[in-house]
């Protein structure tokens, strides 16, 4: 196997990993603070892609149309997250995790049908936006420049989340709330308010990743569950609620997927699960996670 093939797979794995990080970071952030695993995170991602398509199609602004649509769709998904937190999750924090899981599962079913009802079952696509239509040469090999856009966006999100969690007052509260909710509440910080905004932020990230995933592949029903299962693999490998863990998990899953699909497309997912199973046997709480109390 020649170097250029391997390098090519490596780079597409990086791009895939970057997209996975975009989605999984929102999931992981929400879980880290709220201790609620949002099953519907992938559905918000899917809805984000569909909404981006519609806004893009409706606006038809040259050059910046896609970026405007991306921003508007992300904000819309933040709104969806706000509604979901306010009407559903808020009422379930005191209940057990099965109820929380089922409530978000119900949201999957509802959002899937909304997408089916609103856009039909067709495959939709958005062409790659300028200036990322062409190819970039790296060591003399061509790569789609849109992949680099995704990678850059992923890196930007890493930096942003790191800054948010480790360098701001909100970040202090987030980390404190993740380790001891009652104590933070006792210090006079309104926990419901914090939870709402973290969930909204998570949904915004999900919507953003759905939007930028649109020119990457087809926009279609079923993309929600595909991405959420891979995100689960990411957070299980990296450790739930851990930012560096999510980053490492995304990298691993992206690479395994990319090389797996080259080796045997039918089994690409299987390779991811083999890695996941190995991690679970050695460190059930993930590489960067903490054991459950």
């Amino acid at each position: 196997m020649s170097f250029d093939v391997l390098f090519n797979q490596f780079m597409s794995g990086i791009a895939r990993g970057a997209l996975l990080f975009l989605v999984a970071s929102g999931l992981s952030l929400t879980f880290g603070v709220l201790r609620v695993l949002n099953f519907a995170h992938g559905s918000i991602y899917m809805l984000g892609a569909f909404v981006t398509y519609s806004i893009w199609k409706y606006l038809l602004i040259p050059v910046v149309g896609f970026y405007v649509a991306t921003i508007l769709a992300s904000l819309t998904m933040a709104g969806v997250g706000l509604l979901m937190e306010f009407f559903l999750l808020r009422r379930l924090y005191s209940r057990g995790w099965p109820e929380q899981l089922l409530a978000t599962y119900a949201v999957i079913l509802i959002l899937t049908d909304i997408v089916k009802w609103g856009w039909g079952g067709e495959f939709l696509s958005i062409p790659r936006p300028k200036p990322f239509t062409g190819a970039v040469f790296l060591f003399g090999f061509p790569f789609p420049s849109y992949n680099f856009f995704i990678i850059l966006l992923g890196l930007a999100l890493v930096v942003f989340l790191w800054w948010l969690v480790y360098r701001t007052r909100l970040g202090d509260i987030i980390r404190a709330a993740a380790s001891d909710r009652e104590m933070v509440s006792a210090l006079g910080i309104p926990i419901p308010w914090l939870f709402t905004w973290i969930f909204v932020l998570g949904s915004l990230i999900a919507g953003l990743s759905g939007a930028v995933s649109a020119p990457f592949g087809a926009i279609r029903l079923g993309m929600d569950i595909e991405i959420i299962v891979e995100c689960f693999a990411v957070v299980v490998i990296g450790g739930m609620g851990s930012l560096p863990g999510t980053l490492l998990g995304s990298f691993i899953v992206g690479q395994v997927y990319s090389f797996g699909i080259m080796y045997k497309p039918e089994l690409a997912l299987a390779f991811i699960f083999i890695v996941m199973a190995i991690v679970l046997i050695i460190r059930p709480w993930g590489i960067f996670g903490r054991p459950e109390r």
């Binding site: 209940r95 109820e99 899937t112 049908d113 689960f232 299980v236 299987a270 459950e292």
Partner: protein
């Protein structure tokens, strides 16, 4: 002490309504139309899947989102044995259950190490993995076309005969599971759900018991799949999809996971409701989603769970 006694011999006092239900099930083919008979058959088969799920959820406290994997694998095993090698029907059914059990052993080996949400994630992931493999492996499994022309033997070809076959298998399987959950083994499962640490202190190997329960549940899901393929005359990858895994979850929540018959009741409600709703809309999932939310918010414990609570409350106030 008195309570212990009644729990040791559960169901004795309930015999009259069970007998009534069994009689109704056996008389149904003479009363209802073939369409409703088919739905009734479907409800019975799917109830086995719901029981399989609830052995893990209601009794062991582990929420599996991957029961469709066992159901589908068994269905595919039966379908392929019957259509490709024209294998004996009864042995095919057994082979389907066996395959589901073996898969349960493999997946369970990994899953029983985990608790709570992690268990759900991993079962979902394994389920989707199997779905993906069967869906993509076109040469072997027929991909998204599935497998058609899965026929039961001559004697069971008529819908009524197959229905009776389902009823008999259902009664035997349900009775067996009833015995399992009310055996010492069943009590160990419940104690693992309520207090895993204390159960471990009693010298019980939690991992091993969870694995056994997981394999039994997988075999029950397999039984449902094995009955389904010849009943529906075909099988498609949809049988392994996450939506299918969600059905027993919803049935248990609807009927009441803390009761033995709750999941069956929930699955019957769901199946008939589904058949009725499909008459005028294809947006079944949104209705189901809304229904789950209603149950979670207004009827925690499910319908039978709620009824049982009320009944218990009345009994204590009467005393």
């Amino acid at each position: 002490m008195e309570r212990m006694q009644t729990e040791r011999n559960p169901g004795i006092r309930n015999q009259w309504w069970l007998a009534l239900l069994i009689a109704a099930a056996l008389f149904a083919p003479f009363v209802i139309s073939e369409f409703y008979l088919a739905i009734l058959g479907e409800a019975l088969i799917m109830s086995l899947l719901a029981l399989s799920f609830n052995l893990l959820f209601g009794y062991m406290g582990q929420l599996s989102f991957g029961q469709a994997a066992f159901y589908g694998l068994s269905g595919y095993t039966v379908a392929m044995l019957l259509t490709k090698v024209h294998f004996n029907f009864w042995l095919s059914i057994l082979a389907g259950i066996l395959m589901a059990g073996i898969l349960g052993l493999i997946i369970g080996f990994f899953c029983v190490r985990l608790r709570g949400i992690y268990f759900s994630i991993l079962t979902l992931a394994f389920g989707q993995l199997l779905f993906f493999v069967i869906y993509k492996w076109h040469n072997f499994t027929g991909g998204d076309d599935g497998i058609q022309g899965v026929f039961p033997p001559e004697a069971l070809k008529s819908p009524v005969n197959y229905y009776f076959f389902i009823v008999i298998v259902f009664i035997l399987a349900t009775f067996l599971l009833w015995r399992i959950v009310h055996s010492p083994f069943g009590y160990i499962l419940k104690s693992m759900r309520d207090n895993p640490e204390r159960t471990e202190f009693l010298g019980i190997n939690i991992g091993r018991y969870q694995l056994i329960a997981f394999v039994i549940a997988a075999a029950y899901a397999g039984l449902a799949g094995a009955l389904w393929a010849p009943f529906y005359r075909s099988i498609a990858p949809f049988a392994l999809m996450w939506i299918k895994s969600g059905e027993p979850v919803m049935a248990a929540i609807l009927g009441g996971p803390t009761t033995f018959f709750g999941p069956i009741f929930g699955m019957f409600l769901m199946t008939f409701f589904h058949a009725w709703v499909l008459g005028f809309t294809v947006y079944w999932p949104v209705i189901m989603g809304a229904l789950i939310l209603v149950i979670i918010f207004f009827l925690p414990g499910g319908i039978l769970g709620f009824a049982q609570e009320k009944w218990k409350a009345r009994k204590t106030s009467a005393k």
